[in-house]
């Protein structure tokens, strides 16, 4: 007997996992640095290319590629933040936002000049499919890796935020940076860590996108609206909310594609945004219903 909706839920979880990895980093920066980083998509792209180089040039497998991408993107993202964003920190959120748009454009076109516009594919073994025909669903090892990596990253982040002094400092800073500073928290150090984690997670998302699709200069940019939506849906500034928002978005898109008439099945993504708008009208604070800190 086929189980209803299981297949759609699996597809939604996979889609949500890509988005979750990007959205967590995006929302961490928003919550702690008080900045909407529109170059976050390019951090994902950097991760995709780092993974590509690790696999194609280095001959490494996917686990090493994930680690390499995390490290490379963390360092590059942190470097970009120190070089471009931190000097503008006192200018306020809007100049920072506009700067990030410019940085994104420069990075995207810079990568296009260096790597060329064409898509590059990771040469990895073909995925193995596990079929459960009687139950009416299947999944592949590649899909499980995507979901597993995303969940592992979320758990690791949760443990970091709740069990380490640095993580607790981050949460304190997110709540009230001035108060955190008064209580002796090195908020500058916290910001460094935020950029490293945020960028590193984007890099991991990039590798998984490259595995599933390809690496090209707009790999991350193409996902930016989904990431932004997941972050808002979950409650901007809340990493937990972003994760929930990402999975709700992924499942929502998957279900919309399934249940919409086939003539308008390409509206699946659009329908997800319609749901988002509806949710925000009813619950402007997103899923966690939590206003973001004052800077």
């Amino acid at each position: 007997m086929a189980l209803p909706l299981v297949q759609e839920l699996i597809f939604g979880l996979v889609l949500g996992s890509f988005v979750a990895l990007g959205a967590v980093g995006f929302t961490l920066v928003y919550g702690l640095v008080d900045m909407i980083n529109f170059a976050h998509g390019e951090f994902i792209t950097i991760g995709a290319f780092a993974g590509l180089v690790a696999v194609s040039t280095g001959g490494f497998g996917l686990p090493v590629a994930l680690v390499v991408s995390f490290l490379v993107t963390a360092v590059v993202g942190w470097g970009i933040a120190q070089l471009i964003y931190e000097p503008l920190n006192d200018a306020g959120p809007i100049p920072l936002l506009l700067t990030s748009i410019g940085a994104g454009l420069a990075l995207r076109n810079g990568m296009r000049l260096v790597a060329g516009p064409s898509a590059r594919y990771l040469e990895l073994p073909s995925p193995t499919t596990y079929r459960f025909d009687e139950l009416g669903f299947f999944f592949t090892d590649q899909q499980m890796i995507v979901v597993g990596v995303a969940l592992a990253a979320v758990v690791a982040l949760h443990l970091f935020l709740s069990r380490t002094m640095l993580g607790i400092s981050m949460r304190a800073t997110a709540d009230n940076e001035d108060l955190a500073l008064v209580t002796g928290i090195d908020t500058k150090r916290v910001r460094h860590v935020v950029w490293l984690i945020s960028s590193g997670l984007a890099g991991v998302a990039g590798v998984l996108l490259a595995v599933s699709r390809s690496a090209n200069p707009s790999t991350g940019f193409d996902q930016l609206l989904l990431i932004l939506t997941a972050a808002i849906l979950g409650g901007a500034g809340s990493p937990y909310g972003a994760v929930v928002g990402a999975y709700l978005l992924g499942i929502g898109i998957s279900l919309a594609i399934t249940f919409l008439p086939t003539a308008v099945s390409d509206f699946g993504t659009t329908m997800a945004f319609v749901v988002l708008i509806a949710v925000l009208l009813v619950r402007p604070g997103g899923i966690v219903n939590q206003e973001v800190r004052s800077s």
Binding site: E8, F11, S118, T129, R213, L228, A236, G268
Partner: protein, 478 residues
């Protein structure tokens, strides 16, 4: 002007965040369109000029590459007897190009064969004894960028004709393009939109009914008719279709569906997918819930690669038919194994003068050959011959002579030098191309054979072809 003391507080509110993010998203998207983000080149702000390159100067993205190594061939004395008092120093033809964007992988062959033709044209003294130049600008196959590029080519570069433009650009820009009253001879578009709109309607002397667009590649109507016939005659009576939403992909799917249903087949289910998704499993799952014998896929290369991977991983099976635009070595490299056995029906690259063209093309560079690349050679030669026959660089005069140098009757020629010699000798000519006969119909279309190939990990293996004469019987207006 007063400062807004509440700005920071306001930003903290959810609604302000949304507003800022939304505005930023729009701004980012707008900038992406204008500045060229998806590998987008700067809206055609830079041009690449090719003349006498012999194929050695390959256009690079956004790079001003003035052709070098030219052997000046302007005004070759008595050889150009057709040249009139209007003989200019040079003639510029504009080439809107897919240097970036999702179809950029097709441009190198088009560039190489265009430059090859330019080299031959200039070696023969050029049309009207003038140096023949191509001004190449990037449209990224985006309509708005293409519109800007066409304006730049005509107004800044003084192009007298256009050699390029995709279906996705021509359809939304149709009225604008007609208003330019400049002939467009393009190797790209397959759209059914052009089936009855282009050409001179068979009345070259009467210009007010002209469509101004001529294509040297066979239209979707022809090769999708071939694809439909190949499927139907091989006992695939019911098919599913998965297609992207761009004009080209949707047009291919429409055309294939119509041809297949006209033959008596049934399209059981059709699913459209938006582009750029990280996974297409949901859409495949919806499509394969229907019952059919085979399915057709029309999508850009990167999306098609993802779809084929998902299809293979999902073990959906069934015979796969790919749209002709996917006939590219990059598809083999990416998913040659997963797509093994898939069919692809495309206009045959091998027209009456293909054998003469092929070695010259190979010598000119290392681009992978494909239908549109060969058709670009024909388009370039047709324009140059029309200019020479017109005895003028006036776009209207060129338009009036395109039919005259290509339609049946007169001395058969296959290159510009041959055609120029015949014209100078006072003969009428009939240009026969490398990819088709290039006998333009009244609507500016060409006929050609359709080749059906199968995908293997090593490439595309041609299985059989369906002749143009067979296809003509099932197509009325073209």
């Amino acid at each position: 002007m007063t400062e807004c003391p509440d700005a920071e507080d306001a930003l903290d509110s959810r609604r302000e965040f949304l507003k800022a993010a939304g505005v930023s998203a729009v701004l980012t998207t707008s900038l992406a369109g204008c500045v060229g983000t998806e590998g987008g080149g700067g809206g055609g702000d830079t041009a690449t000029t090719a003349a006498d390159t012999g194929g050695e100067t390959e256009a690079t993205d956004d790079t001003e590459t003035e052709a070098t190594g030219s052997t000046e061939t302007e005004d070759t004395g008595g050889d150009t007897t057709t040249a009139t008092e209007e003989s200019p120093d040079k003639v510029v033809v504009g080439q809107p190009a897919s240097l970036t964007g999702k179809w950029d992988f097709l441009q190198p062959a088009v560039t190489q064969s265009t430059d090859l033709a330019v080299s031959e044209i200039n070696d023969a003294g050029g049309p009207l004894g003038a140096k023949f130049e191509i001004s190449r600008r990037d449209t990224a196959v985006k309509p708005q960028q293409a519109r800007q590029v066409v304006q730049q080519l005509l107004n800044n570069d003084n192009a007298v004709a256009i050699n390029g433009l995709f279906s996705s650009e021509i359809v939304p820009l149709w009225d604008f393009l007609k208003q330019q009253t400049t002939p467009i001879v393009t190797p790209w578009p397959g759209t059914r939109f052009l089936d009855t709109r282009g050409g001179d309607k068979g009345t070259p002397e009467k210009m007010n009914d002209d469509g101004w667009v001529w294509r040297t590649v066979i239209g979707d109507t022809v090769h999708t008719a071939g694809a439909a016939q190949a499927m139907y005659e091989n006992d695939f009576q019911n098919v599913g279709i998965l297609n992207g939403t761009s004009a080209g992909e949707r047009g291919w799917a429409d055309s294939f569906q119509q041809a297949f249903e006209n033959l008596g087949g049934t399209v059981t289910k059709r699913v459209e997918v938006s582009e750029g998704q990280s996974s297409y499993q949901s859409s495949l799952n919806v499509l394969f819930q229907a019952d059919f014998d085979a399915w057709a896929l029309a999508a850009g290369l990167e999306d098609a690669t993802t779809i084929i991977r998902d299809w293979s991983a999902g073990g959906y099976g069934k015979q796969l038919l790919l749209e002709d635009g996917l006939m590219d070595p990059d598809l083999i490299e990416a998913v040659g194994e997963e797509a093994e056995g898939a069919w692809i029906a495309a206009g045959s690259t091998q027209g009456p003068n293909y054998d003469a063209f092929k070695p010259k093309f190979s010598e000119a560079g290392d681009a992978d050959i494909h239908t549109w690349g060969v058709a670009a050679y024909d388009a370039t030669n047709v324009i140059a011959l029309a200019i020479h026959r017109a005895g003028s660089t006036d776009p209207a005069a060129i338009e009036q002579h395109i039919g005259a140098v290509t339609r049946e009757g007169g001395t058969t020629v296959s290159t510009f030098p041959e055609g120029k010699d015949a014209l100078d000798a006072g003969d009428d000519i009939n240009y026969e191309g490398a990819v088709t006969q290039v006998d333009f119909t009244q609507f500016g279309n060409v006929w050609g054979d359709v080749a059906v190939s199968t995908v293997s990990p090593d490439g595309f293996d041609e299985e059989f072809s369906i002749g143009a004469d067979t296809l003509k019987q099932s197509i009325e207006n073209y």
